[in-house]
Each structure stands twice: as C-alpha cells, then as structure tokens.
Amino acid sequence: MSADPIFSVSGLTKAFGEGEGEVLVLRGIDLAMEAGEMTALLGPSGSGKSTLLTILGTLMRASGGSHAMLGVDLMHASDAERTEFRSRHLGFVFQFHHLLPDLSALENVMMPAAAAAGRETRAMRSRAMDLLDAVGLADRRDYRPSAMSGGQRQRAAVARALINNPVLVLADEPTGNLDRQSADQVMDLIRSINRTMATSFLISTHDEHIAAQCQRRIELLDGRIVRS
C-alpha cells in the first residue's frame, strides 16, 4: 500500500441555503485515503455521508476548506476540468443502479468511456466484456436493464464504475436496495476488485455487516468525523 494519499480534504465545510435558513451539513472534515484502501463511511441519516461522497466525487463544490486529489486542486478547478477529472479518475456506484434503460448491459458498462471519447471502440468493448465477465454477467451482455434482476443490475453498475480504470470508486449505499444474498454477492465482488485491481473504494453505508468487510471505517455525526 502506498503512503501517498490519493485524495485529501482539510477543513471541508458544506452549507445549504443562506442567512437564517443556512444549514451546515459538513463542519470541517479532515480526511485522506491511500491507494488500494477499502473504507466504510458510516453514520446515521443526515450525518453528511452522501454530501461528503458527492463533494469527493466532484459532483458538488464544498463551501470551504481544501480538496485535492492526485495533485489536482479540485476546489478551484473549472466545471469542465472537474468533469474531465471525474471521467478519468473516479467511479461511482449508487444505491439505485441508474443503468441507462435504452442500452444493453455491455453498452452501459462502456458508457463512461464512450461518453469521454465520443465513440465506442473495440478496446472499450473488450474491456467491458472482461468486466462483465469479472462480475459474472458475461452471458447477460446483450440484456437491457429491464431484463435483469436487481443484483445483476447492481453488479453491472459496479462494472460500469470500473471501465475507466478509476483510482477511487465512491459507492453510496451500493447494497441498500438489495436482498442479503445479492448484497453479499456485490460486496464479494467489490472486495475481489479491491484486491486484484488495487482500486480504492469509499463505501457509504448504514450496515455494520458491510462495514465489517472494509479495512477502515470512518464514522460521521452531524457533519463531523467522530471516529477514523
């Protein structure tokens, strides 16, 4: 495991609303993650887990503090720069699979790479096939999401998150919509990818069972890290 952090945030704050209606959701977060880490982010609803993940994923800007990843100052990067950074270095898995309904499983997995390149290439197709194989969906490559089970969709979503070979995958309650058996399958898959590909995962969850499978746990309460 490398000693250099892949990202670090310091004094990170996030406020919604203005004036008397202002709500402070993150109140000075200091956090860093090293390459290859698999970290669980725990906390009750409203503790700021999703907001922190959204900011780390460059989908939202923090109100204050610093945010850097792979040497890039993401606090002050332009929207276009943040979009490109997201496309190259980050992967996402959401509670709901959010696969595009008009594309097949294979096309869905290729989507982030194809969107960045402006076309689908043979190399992308080959990598997407490998990923579908790795998540056990090789025989479902031509299926639309509507023809797949909940667990299969979420596994396809994990494969999609990996297409651009990201340094960090941010997973927000990735098993929240799944039954225990499907949830275990998805977590086995994430652990296996973390081991074999050395991809870092930051997983937001309520579930102690999921957290127990991670190497590190960070607990959030009222917008502050209370345990790391």
């Binding site: 959204t54 997201r86 190259r88 309904p101 989507m111 402006g118």
Partner: protein, 397 residues
C-alpha cells in the same frame, strides 16, 4: 460529429417508436403544407402567367411618339404640345435593329409586322378586323397560330389569309371561301380563306386576320417600313428589364407586357405573400411541436442525463444528443413529406377544374432544409437546459 451522440439520439428515438412516429408525422404534415402551398401558389402563378402571356408579345417595339418642334426658347412663352399626326407611325429603317434585338440576352423570338385596320366584306355582311402581316416562318413566333388551327392550313400564300373562329362564325365563313378586305388606306382586294384558328382569346378570334408580309405592304401602302416588332422573352417576368435594354439599344419605344397587366402582377404578389405567411406558420408550428416534445423527453430522461453527467459526460455531449434527436425528427419528417408529395403533377398536366399544382415549384429542398434547421434550432434551448441539469439533484442522491 460525435458518433456516440448520434447513437444515443437514435436509441432515444427508437425507445418510444409510437411517440417518435407521431412526432415525425406531425412534422411531415407541416412540411406538406409548406410544399403544397409553394406548389399551388407557384403553379397558379405559372398558369395565370402562361395563359396571360402565352399568346401576346412580351415586348413591343414601335416608333417613339413624336412631339412637334418648338422654335421658341424654353420659358419664353407658354406652349401647348400636341401629338404630331402629320406622318404615319412606322419604323422606316428597321433591318439594322433586328440583329441587335436578336443578340439581346433573354430574347427568344421576334416578329417584324405590318399592322392595319380593315373591313372584311362578304355579301352584305361587314366586320372590322385588325390585319397582321407576318414574315414567312414567323407566323407562330408570338402567338401559337400553328397549334391553334381548327380548320385548313397555316400557310400564307399571297392571296391567302387566316381568320379567327369567332369571325368565321359571325360571317358564316369556311376554308376556301373568298372574302374582300378593304384597308384603312383605301385599298381593297379579295383573299381566299386558307385556315381558321382558335386561340381561346375572344378579341383575337373575332378580330385578328393574318396575312403574308408582302401582301400586307401593298394593302396598307407601306412599301419599306413596318408597324412594329413584337418580341418574346424568357422568362416572361424579365420583360420590363429587357424592354429597358432594347429601348437603350434601338432607340425605339419599347413596351413590356407587364405595363398593360399590372393588376395581374399585384394579384400574384399578394398571393405569394399569403403563401409565405402560411409557410412561416407551418414552420413555427413545427418548431413549437419539436421544442415541446424535446422538453418533455428531457424531463423524462432527467435521471439518465444526471447519471451520464456524473459518469463524466460533458455538457457538449448532452447538448449534442438532444439537438441531434430534434434534428433527426425534423429531417425524417421532412423527407417523409417529400416522398409523400412526389406524385404531385407538373402544372402542364392540370386538368380543367383541378388545382394548378406545380411539383417543380414545390420548394422540396428548401422545405427539407428549413425544417431541419428549424428542428435543430427548436432543440437547442431544451438541450441546453438538459446540459444544465445538476447530476446530484437528477440522481436524487
């Protein structure tokens, strides 16, 4: 062109085939109105123009009106000018003008003519006529007399004349009969009726008599000069410009057919403007239809757009997808209208009582181009809205 944007746009359209087909049918309907109006108004204008100018000269060259010479210096005395009627109106030296006219761009035919008034007498019946003396081979250069013959032949021997069907009916004349013609110059002689024509124009069919050029010289006592030169031009609507050019190059008085038919032009102009307004409304309808359909599509696909943006899709890609989607709806709808309206007849095939639709004037290419552009423009605003969707809100995280 971003190939991935094209692929996703097509997938979006194919995802809801019924709705897409309905949208394209709406566009096709609007484009059909556009093409149909162009074809109808253009065809009507062509038909009216053809019927009006088909049998008349487009430009007439005559001697300029002469004013009497004024010997008193200008301003020294009040003078009243009257037309000089002391000499006959004739183009005395006309041969040098012929090659100049022939070389003028737009001129397709010319006919030097001897014209005069006469009376046709048969028994006790007398009818006033206008005699037109034409050169051999130029009989049908202005009005298609050859094509309008209903009896006899159109040849013009020295003792032969051609008369209109109405005159023949009024005087009970038939081909081969002999009539006497008395000119306004006091000369008279007998002619054999060689043929009867029917141009469909009452005044010509009742009063026009065609005869040999040389015979007309003798009958109207005009040994060298001619009365006028009649000219056909292509297109007929260029007549005023060509008349002005001929006025300058020949020094003769040139009158375009449009000067005597200004009401027709005003009518055609008003008709064309009405058509433009209807076509503009059909385009606006297409724009509103596509824009609202695109807005609905974007609302429905908000989460998809959000996830694509979260996965690193640029705003440009999102704009491209939805602009292409709208443009494809416009293009395919317009092409469908094109195919559907291809069987429209050319104006030459219009039957009595039918609409004078002219396929050639249907502005097919313009309709497709404008519709595609309009569809693209109609999609830009919704597409920009789509690109501004906040991925976090759209995904609902």
């Amino acid at each position: 062109m971003n190939r991935y944007a094209v692929k996703l746009a097509i997938r979006h359209l194919l995802a809801h085939p019924g709705q897409t087909a309905l949208l394209m049918a709406g566009v096709a309907l609007g484009v059909s109105v556009f093409i149909f109006m162009s074809a109808l108004i253009g065809g009507l204008a062509t038909l009216l123009t053809q019927r009006t100018v088909g049998s008349i000269p487009h430009v007439v060259l005559e001697m300029p009106d002469r004013d009497p010479s004024v010997l008193v210096p200008s301003g020294a005395a009040q003078v009243v000018l009257q037309k000089d009627l002391s000499r006959r109106d004739q183009i005395a030296i006309w041969q040098p003008a012929v090659p100049i006219i022939e070389k003028t761009p737009g001129v397709t035919a010319l006919s030097p003519q001897i014209r005069g008034s006469a009376f046709v007498e048969r028994g006790q019946a007398v009818a006033p006529v206008g005699v037109i003396g034409v050169q051999p081979g130029k009989l049908s250069d202005i009005a298609d007399i050859d094509g309008a013959m209903v009896d006899g032949t159109s040849t013009l021997p020295a003792d032969g004349i051609l008369i209109g069907s109405r005159l023949a009916g009024d005087l009970g004349l038939r081909v081969g009969q002999v009539v006497r013609l008395s000119s306004d110059r006091g000369r008279a002689r007998s002619f054999r009726i060689g043929g009867i024509f029917s141009l469909g124009i009452a005044s010509a069919d009742r009063q026009a008599v065609y005869m040999n050029f040389t015979t007309a010289r003798a009958l109207f006592d005009l040994p060298t000069g001619i009365s006028r030169i009649e000219i056909k031009v292509q297109p007929a609507t260029d007549a005023p410009r060509i008349a002005a050019a001929l006025r300058r190059s020949t020094g003769l008085k040139a009158t375009a057919w449009t000067e005597d038919n200004s009401q027709l032009f005003e009518g055609l102009d008003a008709q064309a403007r009405t058509g433009t307004i209807i076509k503009a409304f059909s385009l606006i309808t297409i724009v509103v239809g596509i824009a609202s359909a695109m807005l609905l599509s974007i609302v429905r696909r908000q989460a998809e757009i959000g996830i694509m943006r979260a996965m690193g899709a640029s705003k440009g890609l999102v704009v491209s997808i939805f602009v292409l989607e709208g443009t494809l709806i416009g293009l395919v709808g317009a092409l469908a209208a094109w195919l559907a309206l291809l069987p429209l007849p050319p104006v030459s095939e219009v039957r009595s009582g039918g609409l004078p639709i002219d396929r050639a004037q249907g502005d097919f290419l313009l309709a497709v181009t404008l519709t595609t552009l309009a569809a693209m423009l109609a999609s830009i605003l919704p597409a920009r809205n789509a690109a501004r969707i906040d991925p976090v809100e759209a995904i609902g995280q």
